[in-house]
């Protein structure tokens, strides 16, 4: 039955090709089977790829083991098939599904192993056979029959997931296996042995493809590519070679239709199709036709991509970009050609020649293609191991894409399609926004360098076109050169302005976030903050898609870092604390998958999550982020703890920090600090005692500081802050033990100037944190004893409890009747006003920078600065949850706590931006 299955896959053409293949192989040096495993196109230079194969075949043992397990299950299944035992078949099927999950996790790829697909196909066929064979069905035992039916259902359900892969597999089972099948026909048992090689072959295959592709590229340049054409293409070639004058629009069109019709059909090789179409572009009669064919070429090139999760081969990607540039050349050369994907153009629209005056409509969508190319680029960076040369090489392709995007954008602007231009601009923004000036400069230099290199390439290419005598020669009108402003800020400004003017909501939101990120990167805290507040993104972000939410989180993290760098500790803490409140920073920033102890993710979820990951070069350094967060928390929390040492529960600024501190205090012995957390805890211990020098030294010894550009000044700022907080802590802690305290003594102790100490202490006095006053002639602080008698203290407690009671009553009534009517105490009214404002403004058109919502904006601002506790960036909304926003549209939020980790990141993001306190 295996043979039946194998032959099913191969169509006539394929057999033909395998023949050729064999021929060539015979001609070539002795081949390893693995080399042949590559797709049909690499046969000519299989010997080249040998080396790389050798490298790639090293497979990790864990992986091997999983595959072995899987293979043995397949064996079992085969045996079960032989005896028509559906019960055990069903068991094995369940088993293999479980194994699949393991294998996927081990290989860390989204690609389903071929072995599994093969097994599915096999099962499907066998099932079909069994169902068709009515007689045998009748003979089956009842349990067997039941299992058969169950299997039918299961398989149907299961296979739907892998439909694409199965189809693909059916179209072209690997040639290697075809060969096997000849030998193995009689000895099925042997196959398991051969299967074992599979994973290595898969790895080899992908690398082969790359190598081969590059080779093709080279050969292309030599103009020798015709040699490699398959028989069929040679035929076609001949057909057209006969006499150039005989080729008419009709013949080309016919051929084109034929090729396009074959797309996606069984047995149509994808590379082959690309080649054919590429050839056709050279014989196209009119520019419009050439354009039409080029669009198909690009579509076909996209088809080459093996699956949703894998990325497009890099060489194909490059060719794709080149093709896009040619398209632009044509469009620039013939401004009367219009690209449109809305209307179905006439059958013979493209017949109109270059001299035709009216507009010619050609089907196509430049923006969609461009976005797809960008996505492929992104995906490839996700997949490639960031620690390899390959990754760096891949990054070098970025200018190539930027050139294309720039040209497409220029073209779209010229034809007045600003909306699409904004989309393209966003793509450019997203490639630039995370780059600090140094990286940006490096990219500019690279662009200049590669431009020189490219010039040579271009020349040869022109020659090549001449060699094959294209009918429609397209001069390179569109510049292949990248024009960059000196300053990345300037570039951002240009692009972002365009987007704000004409982009749609999502585009604008994303551009705004990128803009905020970029400002933050350049230490422009106030601008970033204003943009963030004025755009009201914090309120609307949970209604947006996951990737935008990730971007929002990234921007928040960066704004937090920026606030820290410019010395705004409270603001920095406000930005970062929510990121850290759930302990899932990695996930929230899409910089890695954190394993949850309580909940196993389904492979589906994992795959989704992996697809969202940021490429390595865009990461925000997590250690630095953690250090900044904890230091901010420390600077705020230590004096706070000292001030409220009697009732520690009362005012907690950072829960995360408190928890960490508790843990570290519980340890019987404290060793020297190792990680970031240990360092900060050690510093905290020193700071609690008022020992600022030790605290600073410990923090200074962290090595994440080398990641900061203006390291010296930041550390200096940090030292000043630590001194200040140490002084405050000291005063809070020991104010009970002193009657007076001399200014001079404090200056000596904390190494601060008179004026500084005076200013800090005065601030504490005015805010009534410290019950004392200055005695100017003696330069002393005189502490007042504010001691209450027992009765008085109890009376205070009583009043406090009363007001809590009243408050909870109000809350109860509010929750019942949907609030609003009550005149709340002043402290809360502020927040409510803000809440009301933002709730109203949430749906507004934010990119107008909310000038229309002056009121909301301002109360937002007021909230931002107002209040005793730092209400930084969106924290203002925290109290809201307790006030039952009832009627508002936030009902979704209420559930977020309960649904917990069951949800995907989108819901988590919600809890992030909303604050989790109930």
């Amino acid at each position: 039955m295996a043979s039946k299955f194998w032959t099913q896959g191969g169509s006539d053409t394929e057999e033909e090709e395998t023949d050729i293949e064999d021929e060539i192989e015979n001609g070539g040096a002795g081949e390893t089977t693995a080399a042949a495993a590559g797709s049909r196109y690499l046969q000519t230079n299989a010997s080249d790829s040998d080396d790389s194969d050798g490298q790639k075949r090293v497979v990790r043992s864990a992986k091997d083991k999983r595959f072995e397990e899987m293979a043995s299950t397949v064996d079992q299944m085969k045996n079960a098939m032989k005896i028509n035992d559906w019960v055990s078949l069903q068991e094995s099927f369940d088993k293999i599904n479980k194994q699949l999950e393991k294998v996927m996790r081990v290989t860390e790829s989204d690609r389903v192993p071929n072995l599994y697909i093969k097994c599915l196909v096999m099962l499907e066929d066998f099932l079909a056979e069994a169902l068709a064979n009515k007689e045998a069905k009748k003979k089956m035992s009842s349990s067997n029959h039941k299992a058969l039916n169950a299997m039918k259902q299961k398989l149907k359900k299961n296979n739907k997931q892998y439909e694409e892969l199965i189809n693909k597999y059916r179209e072209n089972p690997e040639s290697e296996e075809e060969k096997f099948e000849d030998e193995d026909e009689d000895e099925d048992e042997d196959e398991s042995g051969s299967e074992l090689e599979d994973p290595s072959q898969i790895a080899a295959e992908s690398s082969d493809e790359d190598d081969e592709g590059e080779d093709v590229d080279d050969d292309d340049a030599d103009g020798a590519w015709e040699k490699k054409l398959s028989k069929k293409e040679k035929l076609m070639d001949r057909e057209f070679k006969k006499d150039p004058s005989e080729i008419t629009w009709d013949t080309v069109n016919k051929k084109f239709k034929e090729v396009v019709a074959a797309r996606g059909r069984k047995g149509t090789g994808k590379f082959e199709q690309v080649e054919q179409l590429t050839f056709l572009t050279k014989v196209a009669k009119t520019p419009a036709q050439k354009l039409e064919i080029l669009f198909s070429v690009i579509s076909a090139q996209f088809d080459v991509n093996p699956g949703l999760s894998g990325h497009m081969p890099i060489n194909v990607w490059k060719k794709c970009v080149q093709n896009m540039l040619v398209i632009l050349d044509i469009l620039v050369q013939y401004p009367n050609i219009v690209v449109d994907d809305m209307v179905e153009p006439d059958e013979n629209e493209t017949q109109k020649g270059a001299d035709y005056d009216g507009t010619i409509r050609v089907w196509g969508n430049l923006v969609a293609f461009l976005e797809r190319i960008d996505n492929e680029f992104f995906k490839s960076l996700q997949c490639i191991d960031p620690h390899t040369r390959e990754y760096v090489e891949r990054l070098r392709d970025e200018p190539l894409f930027l050139v294309l995007a720039q040209n497409v954008q220029e073209y779209l602007e010229r034809i007045g399609d600003l909306k699409s231009a904004a989309k393209v601009a966003l793509r450019r923004v997203e490639l630039v926004y995370y780059k600090p000036q140094e990286v940006y400069d490096a990219m500019r230099q690279l662009a200049v360098l590669s431009e020189d290199g490219e010039k040579d390439g271009d020349e040869t290419k022109v020659e090549e076109t001449r060699g094959t005598s294209a009918f429609v020669v397209t001069p390179e009108l569109v510049s292949r050169k990248l024009t960059f402003p000196e300053n990345s800020r300037a570039l951002m400004d240009i692009l972002v302005t365009l987007i704000y003017k004409s982009g749609d909501e999502r585009t604008k939101a994303r551009a705004m976030l990128c803009d905020i990120y970029h400002h933050a990167l350049f230490d422009e805290f106030s601008i970033a903050r204003d943009l963030l507040l004025m755009s009201h993104l914090q309120d609307t972000i949970q209604h947006m898609d996951v990737s935008t939410q990730i971007l929002f989180n990234r921007a928040m993290a960066q704004v937090g870092l920026c606030a820290f760098r410019v010395g705004l500790i409270a603001e920095g803490h406000g930005c970062l604390s929510e990121l850290y409140s759930g302990g899932r920073v990695k996930e929230l920033l899409a910089q890695g998958v954190s394993q949850s102890r309580y909940h196993e993710k389904t492979p589906e979820q994992e795959r989704l999550e992996r697809r969202r990951q940021m490429p390595y070069h865009m990461h925000i350094n997590l250690e630095l982020l953690e250090a900044v967060h904890l230091i901010c928390a420390m600077l705020l929390e230590v004096p706070n703890m000292a001030a409220n040492s009697l009732d520690a529960k009362r005012k907690v600024i950072s829960k995360t920090f408190r928890r960490l501190l508790e843990v570290s205090e519980r340890q019987p012995f404290t060793g020297p600090p190792e990680n970031v957390r240990d360092h900060v805890m050690a510093a905290t211990r020193a700071l609690c005692k008022g020992d600022f020098q030790k605290a600073f030294d410990v923090i200074n010894s962290l090595d994440v500081w080398k990641l900061l550009r203006n390291r010296e000044s930041v550390l200096e700022m940090l030292k000043a802050k630590i001194k200040e907080e140490a002084l405050r802590t000291y005063l809070f802690t020991y104010c009970f033990s002193y009657d007076t305290l001399g200014l001079d003594q404090l200056t000596k102790m904390f190494d601060l100037s008179d004026a500084q100490i005076h200013s800090i202490v005065s601030k504490m006095l005015v805010n009534e944190e410290l019950h004392a006053s200055w005695d100017q002639p003696t330069r002393c602080i005189i502490f007042h004893d504010v001691e209450y008698s027992r009765l008085q203290a109890l009376a205070f407690q009583l009043t406090e409890k009363l007001s809590i009671l009243a408050e909870s009553n109000e809350r109860a009534v509010e929750a019942r009747f949907g609030g609003g009517g009550l005149d709340l105490p002043l402290r809360r009214r502020d927040n409510q006003e803000y809440a009301a404002g933002t709730a109203g403004g949430g749906g507004g058109r934010w990119p107008d920078l909310s000038y229309n919502q002056g009121r909301q904006g301002s109360s937002g601002r007021a909230a931002y600065t107002g209040g005793g506790r730092p209400l930084a960036l969106g924290q203002a909304s925290r109290d809201r949850s307790s006030q039952s926003r009832g009627t508002g549209g936030y009902s979704g939020r209420a559930g977020s706590g309960m649904r917990g980790y069951q949800m995907d990141a989108s819901a988590r993001m919600v809890s992030l931006s909303r604050g989790v306190r109930g």
Partner: protein
């Protein structure tokens, strides 16, 4: 000294004609070379129709009697155009100058238009011509004429856009004629329109607010009651927002107004926060002074800033308005500002001290000893200050101001009653609504 000059930042938000007084002021203060200012004036006049004036300035700038040809040509052109417009608007103007005819007009706009059209053959074209004529008059520097025509135009005009720009024109004309009371009325009218009107883009609205605030500076610092009103206007959320986003330099005027106005304490606290927040986008000695006293508690710094403030005030066209009294002129705002600023410092200083050496204190306040002592005695006598002077040691001793425990308790519980009443009220209301449903 020119560092704190705001003219370049204020100028773009004003009408051309309104910039003139500012330039005059600068010329008087001699902050810039005369030549520059004269050139700026010519530049300014080039786009207006005050060609004669431009010629005069040109003569005085280059000390010649010749004027450039283009100016002469322009003069001819302007005169011709004036003639044409006058003719076009003539029917309506004659009608309006006839008191008997004007009495026929009623409050109803539609009726008026109809009546004009029927009986005097004055249609929309003539009305439009009146607007153009008024505008031209304004450009020529005939502000009173322009103001009259615009007033009448507004009574007849139906187009709200046009009416709005006529109102702007009227405001400018009144400001230039220094009719502060009328100008204030116009200002309030304009403000209402801006706040109520739905603008096509919010950006326009903000821009209008910014303009309004700039123009209002003329009025507020000349009108008697202006200093309270400037706070009323600028400190509104919408306007404060506009200031923060687009014109932070206006904070100077708001800050000054707050300092010279003693009775604005609750808003003042909020304003300090704004100052603190916007320090990165704008600062000058006046805002820095506030930051020193209320944010950083640096009294030495505050004292330094106070001296700088004096300069700033003298050189600011709005703040440094002079009042001629006999032979010598004073700047009333300056004295008031300094007095109040001193009080601010002292007040804050007292709050955090128990004993203050008077010598040091007076030094901080820029006062000599006798003057200072008198000042403090006055404060104590007016029971503004709860303190005693110990003249032997030369110190002021603050009375310890311990919050009374019982007062605190009462404070805490006072509100509870009201809240409970409200709660009960709400409950009852709901309970009554329930059966009704």
């Amino acid at each position: 000294m020119a560092t704190y000059d705001l003219t370049p930042r204020i100028g773009p938000n004003l009408d051309r004609h309104l910039v003139f007084p500012l330039l005059e002021f600068l010329q008087e203060r001699q902050l810039y070379p005369d030549e520059q200012i004269l050139k700026a004036k010519i530049e300014l006049l080039n786009k207006t129709n005050m060609v004669d004036y431009a010629m005069d300035i040109h003569k005085s700038l280059y000390h010649t009697d010749d004027v450039p040809q283009d100016m002469v040509e322009r003069r001819v052109e302007v005169v011709a155009r004036l003639k044409a417009l006058e003719d076009a608007a003539a029917p309506l103007v004659t009608f309006l100058q006839n008191p008997n005819a004007v009495q026929e007009l009623r409050a109803d706009k539609q009726y008026n238009l109809q009546m004009l059209n029927d009986r005097y053959q004055i249609g929309p074209d003539q009305i439009e011509a009146l607007y153009q004529y008024a505008k031209f008059q304004f450009e020529c520097g005939n502000y009173s004429g322009a103001a009259d025509y615009l007033y009448q135009y507004r009574a007849l005009c139906t187009n709200s856009e046009r009416s709005l720009s006529a109102l702007w024109g009227k405001l400018a004309a009144e400001i230039l004629m220094q009719n502060w009371d009328t100008a204030l009325e116009e200002l309030n009218r304009l403000k209402e329109i801006i706040d109520s009107k739905s603008f096509s883009s919010p950006l326009n609205q903000v821009q209008s607010r910014i303009w309004l605030m700039h123009w209002s500076l003329f009025i507020f610092f000349n009108h008697d009651n202006g200093r309270t009103q400037i706070i009323d206007l600028f400190n509104q959320d919408k306007y404060l927002n506009a200031i923060q986003t687009s014109a932070p330099h206006l904070l100077r005027y708001l800050a000054t107004a707050f300092i010279v106005n003693k009775r604005r304490r609750p808003q003042f606290k909020e304003f300090i926060k704004v100052i603190q927040q916007d320090q990165c986008s704008y600062k000058d000695p006046i805002t820095e002074f506030l930051a020193c006293v209320y944010v950083n508690y640096e009294f030495d710094g505050a004292q330094k800033k106070m001296k700088e403030c004096e300069e700033v005030i003298l050189n600011d066209p709005f703040l440094g308005k002079r009042v001629e009294e006999g032979n010598f002129s004073t700047v009333p705002l300056k004295d008031e500002f300094l007095e109040n600023a001193r009080l601010f410092i002292f007040e804050t200083y007292c709050r955090i001290h128990q004993r203050i050496d008077m010598g040091v204190l007076f030094e901080k306040l820029n006062l000599n000893y006798e003057e200072g002592e008198r000042w403090i005695v006055n404060l104590i006598r007016n029971s503004k200050l709860d303190a005693k002077i110990d003249s032997k040691t030369g110190t002021v001793i603050m009375e310890p101001n311990q919050p009374n425990v019982y007062e605190q308790l009462i404070d805490h519980t006072k509100a509870l009653q009201g809240r409970t009443y409200k709660l009960v009220g709400q409950l009852l209301e709901h309970a009554q609504a329930q059966p009704a449903r």
